[in-house]
Structure formats: structure tokens, C-alpha cells
């Protein structure tokens, strides 16, 4: 027992330091931080990992932020979050603003304050190369058309009526379904089409620009009027003095529409170097090139695996500890505690883990409880799994005959001592296998924490595969990592089971 406890202790203590958030102290004289939120999963050309060097985060919005922050006297710091949670992240104070292709729509404006547009664009129709051209929205009637979930284009397509709109989370999935014939066309924001469809020989642009999309910088509603005013004036300057034009040229994003909106009729001010680099880095490569690419992923996947294990181990420690308490309440706690524990367990098991996670991270700030994403993630997973562990442990406790407790009481132990020294050690042996299984499940369920801005293995898979258009190879790689992560714990559990069950089977002495 003590040896087991020691190993567990070591495991935990080795994990805790890695949880410490990077110190966010501002050295004297250094600029104050301006934290900007975005979703790396939103992909190129917004804010994404450099396919040529996955340790770097690049994008035209990164360039805009760098210039903007410099002019306002801030040091920009990027904070990643799930795309769907970008605006809620403002309310929880995860960052000061969001710049990530958020459209200035009335729905968005109801939830956050918006700057003037930093980029104005439109929806681009894309079809398979060689298919008959489609001129406009009217030509899309009756066709299967893919776009991004909850985007302005989804709204526009649905409002047109009679279009069979299919929505997706990832832009590359739209184009790959288009190529596979599952869609007849796609309409997405022009920058997406430039980066994911234009380099692809199987696809081509067609038709007129659809609608008008304005990207704005979002701030927490009513919270920073002064910052908003400063941002607006800096953006105006950048749009007027050609800074924005140059940035957008480098990313091959300057359009007729931008020229009209800004009154800037000058032709190209910079070479599309960032666009060319992207196309080059993501071109389909040979097997060798592909392998080299995977090798480059490894450090990033390694760190992601560490994050996954950290979150899972911490959550499991919490789940086991709290699960034991709940089980004891149920079996030995008397009517009231039993009732309370039962209600807790039923409530947790009867609601989705995802909702619990979102509730703890985005819901609790409403009542003044604002948690670090790590803490919220571990708490949600731990409290959820505790309910399942509790039922395991309850079954384990009930499997120990009443006589054992009575024998201990007759030896003048208290009920507490009897539990600790007689009942629980015997029950522990029974519950090791199911607990191990639950840990393996938790390892997988920990991927859910990506919705509260944590980057772990699954999130990294998503990022890498969307960057390189490669769900297949990356998927095999990440799957293998999950399997490898689970193995040592299965081993540990087998050892623990043997250790704990000494004497519990005949002829082992």
C-alpha cells in the first residue's frame, strides 16, 4: 500500500509544476499586455500554426494585431480558444479582445462591442473544376451547397431559400466533400477559398461575389469604451496609410472590394510572400516529405500528449478521491448523506459532460466564480467521473460481507477505523479493474476540454490535419499516441491488482 501511495504521490507531484501558468509579470519599463483571442483551428489565413514551422503562430490577423498593438503601445499576446467559444471567452476575461474573422452582424453586436471593419470581403462560390459555372445565389437553387456552421454565409444561403445547405465545422471538410461529390458547390468567405480551394487543381472559383462580409474586432460588451475608440482610430490610420493594404497583399487578400471600401486604388504594394509560403508548405508531398512532416509534428504532439496526461491524471485523482467520499456517503452515511450523494450522482450521470464543462467554465463566472481553464477542465472531468467512480466503489463496498465490519467493531475499532483498515482495503482490490477502464475512458474524454481553450492531443490533431489537409496520416499517428498513453496505466493497474489481492486467492502464500 505504502509503495503504491508513493508512486501515486510521485506521479502527482511530477505533474503539478507543469500546471503552473506562465508567470505574467510585467518587467519594469515593458509594455502592458494586450491579450487577443482567436481559434487556431479556424485555419489559414486568419490565425494559425505555420505549416512550415508549427511552433510559430502566423496569419494576416496576427500581422494586423502586431501593428495595432505597437501603435497603441501594447505587447500583443495570443490566447487560443475554441471558435464557438470566442465571444464567451471575452466575458470570462480570458483575453481583452477577439480578432478572428468575426463578422459584424446584429447577432454578434448584441453579444459584444465591435470595432470598425478591418477587412471587408464576400462569399466565394467554388465548384469542381470543369463543372458548369454557377453565376450567383439564384444558380445555387436546388443544389447541395456546403459552408461553415454559424457563419454569415450560412445565414445568407438559408435566406435565399430552396438551397440544400450543408454546414461544417472545418473548411477543409467542405472542400473534400465537394471533391468527393457529396456537394455540388461551396460558398465560404473569400480568404478561405483563396487558401484552401485556389491551390487545389481539382477545384475552381466561379460566379460573382456573394454578399458583403465585414470582419471586426470584438471587445467585451460595454467594458472598454476607451480601448475600442483607440483601436478604431488606429485601424482607420492603417486602412488609410496603406499599412493594411501591404499586409493584405502579402497574404494575397487585397480585393476590388477593399479598394472600393478604402478608396485606395493603388495596385499591389507587396508581393504575396506569405501566401506563396503557405501554398509551398502545404503542397501534397512525396512519402519522404510526408514522413519528414510527421517528424516535425512530433514535438508538438509530444507536448499535447503531456497536456492530455496531465489533465487526465489530475481529473482521475479528483474523481477517485471524491468518488470514495460519495460511495462512503451512500453506503455508510445515513439517510441524509446517502440522499444527497444519490442526487449528485444522478444529476451528473443524467447530463452530458460537455454541458457540465461549458457550465463550469462559461456559466460560473455569472455568479462570480471565474476559473482558470485548466482548473475548470480538471474540475469538470473530475466531478463528472467521480459520479461513475462512486457507483463502482459502492458496489465494491457492498461486496464486502457485513461480518468483516462486525468483526472489526467487536475488536473495539470505531466504524471509521473499520472502514479504513478492513473494508476499504478489501473493496479496493475489487474496484481496480473498473477504475482502470474508467481512466482509459477519461483519457479520451479529456479531448472535450478543447472547448474551453485548452490545447491537448485531439485539438492538436484537429489543428495539424486541417493545416495540412491530412486527416489520415495524422489520425493514425495521434491514435497510436492515445494507445501508447493508456498502456502504462493498464500495466500499473495490473500490478496494483496483483499487489492488493495478495492472500485473496488460495495458495498464493
Amino acid at each position: 500500500m505504502t509503495r503504491l501511495a508513493l508512486i501515486f504521490g510521485l506521479l502527482i507531484s511530477s505533474v503539478i509544476p507543469a500546471f503552473a501558468q506562465p508567470a505574467q509579470t510585467t518587467p519594469a519599463g515593458a509594455l502592458p499586455q494586450l491579450r487577443y483571442g482567436g481559434a487556431l483551428s479556424s485555419g489559414a489565413p486568419y490565425t494559425f500554426r505555420d505549416p512550415g514551422d508549427p511552433n510559430k503562430i502566423i496569419g494576416f490577423e496576427v500581422d494586423i494585431m502586431n501593428t495595432l498593438a505597437e501603435r497603441l503601445g501594447y505587447r500583443p499576446v495570443f490566447v487560443n480558444n475554441d471558435w464557438a467559444s470566442l465571444i464567451p471567452g471575452l466575458d470570462t476575461g480570458l483575453y481583452d479582445l477577439v480578432i478572428n474573422g468575426l463578422e459584424i452582424t446584429s447577432a454578434h453586436q448584441a453579444a459584444a462591442d465591435f470595432s470598425i471593419p478591418y477587412y471587408i470581403t464576400f462569399g466565394q462560390i467554388v465548384i469542381r473544376r470543369g463543372d458548369p459555372p454557377l453565376d450567383n445565389l439564384a444558380a445555387l437553387k436546388g443544389k447541395r451547397v456546403g459552408t461553415l456552421q454559424a457563419s454569415q454565409m450560412e445565414y445568407v444561403l438559408r435566406a435565399a431559400g430552396n438551397i440544400d445547405v450543408r454546414v461544417y465545422d472545418e473548411e477543409i471538410d467542405v472542400y473534400s466533400d465537394l471533391k468527393l461529390g457529396r456537394l455540388d458547390a461551396s460558398v465560404m468567405d473569400f480568404p478561405i477559398a483563396v487558401y484552401y480551394a485556389k491551390p487545389d487543381r481539382a477545384l475552381e472559383f466561379t460566379g460573382d461575389p456573394i454578399g458583403r462580409i465585414e470582419y471586426g474586432i470584438a471587445l467585451k460588451k460595454g467594458a472598454h469604451p476607451e480601448l475600442l475608440a483607440n483601436i478604431n482610430s488606429a485601424l482607420s490610420t492603417m486602412l488609410a496609410d496603406g499599412t493594411m493594404h501591404r499586409i493584405l497583399d502579402r497574404w494575397a487578400l487585397w480585393t476590388q472590394m477593399m479598394a472600393q471600401a478604402t478608396g485606395d486604388a493603388r495596385s499591389m504594394l507587396a508581393q504575396p510572400i506569405d501566401y506563396d509560403r503557405f501554398v509551398e508548405a502545404t503542397e501534397p508531398t512525396t512519402w519522404r516529405g510526408q514522413l519528414e512532416r510527421y517528424m516535425r509534428f512530433l514535438p508538438q504532439l509530444g507536448w499535447a500528449a503531456v497536456a492530455t496526461v496531465q489533465i487526465s491524471v489530475m481529473s482521475m485523482v479528483l474523481a477517485v478521491a471524491f468518488g470514495v467520499v460519495l460511495a462512503l456517503c451512500r453506503v455508510y452515511g445515513g439517510v441524509v448523506l446517502d440522499r444527497i450523494a444519490q442526487v449528485y450522482i444522478e444529476a451528473i450521470r443524467g447530463t452530458p459532460l460537455l454541458i457540465q464543462l461549458l457550465f463550469i467554465y462559461y456559466g460560473l463566472p455569472k455568479i462570480g466564480l471565474q476559473l482558470d481553464p485548466y482548473v475548470a477542465g480538471v474540475l469538470a472531468l473530475g466531478l463528472n467521473y467521480a459520479a461513475y467512480e462512486a457507483e463502482n466503489y459502492r458496489a465494491g463496498l457492498l461486496a464486502i460481507p457485513r461480518h468483516q465490519m462486525e468483526a472489526a467493531i467487536a475488536l473495539n475499532m470505531t466504524e471509521r477505523q473499520s472502514l479504513r483498515y478492513v473494508v476499504i482495503p478489501q473493496a479496493a482490490r475489487i474496484v481496480v479493474p473498473p477504475t482502470t477502464n474508467d481512466f482509459i475512458s477519461l483519457l479520451k474524454d479529456s479531448s472535450l476540454v478543447s472547448v474551453i481553450s485548452l490545447v491537448e492531443l485531439t485539438k492538436t490533431y484537429e489543428l495539424l490535419s486541417t493545416t495540412y489537409y491530412d486527416y489520415f496520416g495524422t489520425g493514425l499517428l495521434v491514435g497510436a499516441i492515445y494507445l501508447l498513453l493508456g498502456l502504462p496505466f493498464v500495466r500499473l493497474a495490473r500490478w496494483a491488482e496483483r499487489h492488493l489481492s495478495r492472500g485473496m486467492t488460495r495458495a498464493s502464500s
Binding site: E406, A407, A408, I409, L411, Q417, Y421, G503, M504
Partner: protein
């Protein structure tokens, strides 16, 4: 001499069915008392009331000067503390031994002294070894219960109870679950304890043992004590017809 065990008017019901209907008796220090009676008459319940494993409805139990008393319809709450104090002087041995299967024999014996009395490990081990030697298990100290015969387990259970240095030992059919050939090795331990002056109450169906080893015999039927007699007298000349009828089968 002051009686070491004094029981007065114990009542106990399960689900409104009276099981003990006013049981009273006294036992002097050093006596070995056999408690006999038909199955279901309340012998186990009585024994369990004596050390508080079962909370009595009303009545009084006093062992070694610690008195546990309950008036009818009074909450049982405060009795828990008194029961704990009372158990300090009382050991119990069960029909099914109830050794702790996850601990070796010697660990079984050492556990309660260390946990309850805070005895140091070395000291507890030395005492446990001595006790196990005394019950004839000096060779088996490191075995797990599952690898011992029933008779060995029951002797181990006796050693485990003795480790708490009780003044009174209670046995609930200690040999009923044993092979006939190992019954005597357990009974011999009890006889040895009797010689050393231990006070013992034994619920038993071993009439030979009751007759040979006890100082006197208590006969119970339907939750009442029918007869308390000298061991020879009850066998040769039972006063009550119910006693006669019960013993008839064994004679």
C-alpha cells in the same frame, strides 16, 4: 464475589417481533457458561447485545463495571459511546471466524492493538506471535486466512480477540462451521483459557463440551431464560419440561 457480567431485563425486538423478552442473569469472574437452546431462540441476539453489536431496546448490561442501560422508548444515541467503552473488556468469536482475508494471520492479530490502543508495531508483533503460539499456530503466522483450515482460522480468531486483553470472551457457535475432527482443537483452547481464569460465554450445540467444561449452563427458549443449572443437574434432572424436550435429542 462481585459478578463480572450482570444482565438485567434485556428486551430486543426485530421489526416489532420480540426476540428477547426480559433476559436477566449474572456471571462470576472465571466462569465458563454454556448458552444452549433451540435454533432461533435468540442466543446470538443475546450475545450481540452484550457487546453492543446489537442495540438493546431496554434493559441493562454491566460488564467489568461498565454499564450500558436503556429505558424503554429512549433514543439509543448515547449508547454508542458506552458500547465502545464496554467492548474494551469483551472479546468475541464468530461462527464464521471472520478473519480479515487481506491480512496474514499475524497481521490479523496485530491490527486492533495497533489501531485501537496505539501499540507499537514491534510490541504488537511480539504479542501476536506469543498468542498464536499459544493457540498452536506458531508455524502459520505468515499465512493468509484463505490458506488455513477452519480449525486454524477459528483458533486464529480467538488469538485475535485475546490480543485486546479482554476480561470476558463471547463465542457464538465457534465450532458449528468446522469439520468434526477439528472441533476439539478449538474447544481445547477454550478449556485452556478457562483454566487460566478467563470468563467465557459460549453459545454451543456441543453438548459434550457444555457438560464437561462449563461451570453452569443457561437454557434459553423463545427469548427467555428457562433454566440456569449446574451442568450435571441439567442433564440428569432438568426441571423444566422444555429443557427436557430439548435435551432429549442429545441424550
Amino acid at each position: 464475589m462481585q459478578p463480572i457480567v450482570r444482565v438485567e431485563g434485556i428486551h430486543k425486538s426485530f421489526d416489532k417481533t420480540p426476540i428477547l423478552k426480559g433476559v436477566s442473569f449474572q456471571i462470576e469472574e472465571g466462569d465458563l457458561v454454556s448458552l444452549i437452546g433451540p435454533s432461533g431462540c435468540g442466543k446470538s441476539t443475546l450475545l450481540r447485545c452484550l457487546n453492543g453489536l446489537e442495540v438493546l431496546d431496554s434493559g441493562r448490561v454491566e460488564i467489568c463495571g461498565v454499564a450500558m442501560e436503556r429505558k424503554p422508548n429512549v433514543p439509543a444515541g448515547p449508547l454508542a459511546d458506552i458500547a465502545h467503552k464496554l467492548r474494551r473488556n469483551v472479546g468475541m468469536v464468530f461462527q464464521t471466524f471472520n478473519l480479515f482475508p487481506h491480512k496474514t494471520l499475524i497481521q490479523n492479530v496485530m491490527l486492533a492493538p495497533m489501531v485501537v490502543k496505539g501499540v507499537a508495531r514491534d510490541e504488537a508483533a511480539a504479542m501476536a506471535e506469543k498468542l498464536l503460539k499459544k493457540v498452536g499456530l506458531g508455524e502459520q503466522v505468515d499465512r493468509y486466512p484463505l490458506n488455513l483450515s477452519g480449525g486454524q482460522q477459528q483458533r486464529g480468531a480467538i488469538a485475535r480477540a485475546l490480543a485486546m486483553a479482554p476480561k470476558v470472551m463471547l463465542y457464538d457457535e465457534p465450532t458449528s462451521a468446522l469439520d468434526p475432527i477439528v472441533v476439539d482443537e478449538v474447544l481445547d483452547v477454550m478449556k485452556e483459557l478457562d483454566r487460566e481464569g478467563m470468563t467465557q460465554i459460549v453459545v454451543t450445540h456441543e453438548m459434550r463440551f457444555a457438560r464437561d467444561a462449563s461451570d453452569y449452563i443457561v437454557f434459553m427458549d423463545k427469548g427467555e431464560i428457562i433454566e440456569i443449572s449446574d451442568e450435571d443437574e441439567i442433564f440428569q434432572n432438568p426441571k423444566d419440561p422444555r429443557t427436557r424436550q430439548f435435551l432429549h435429542r442429545f441424550l
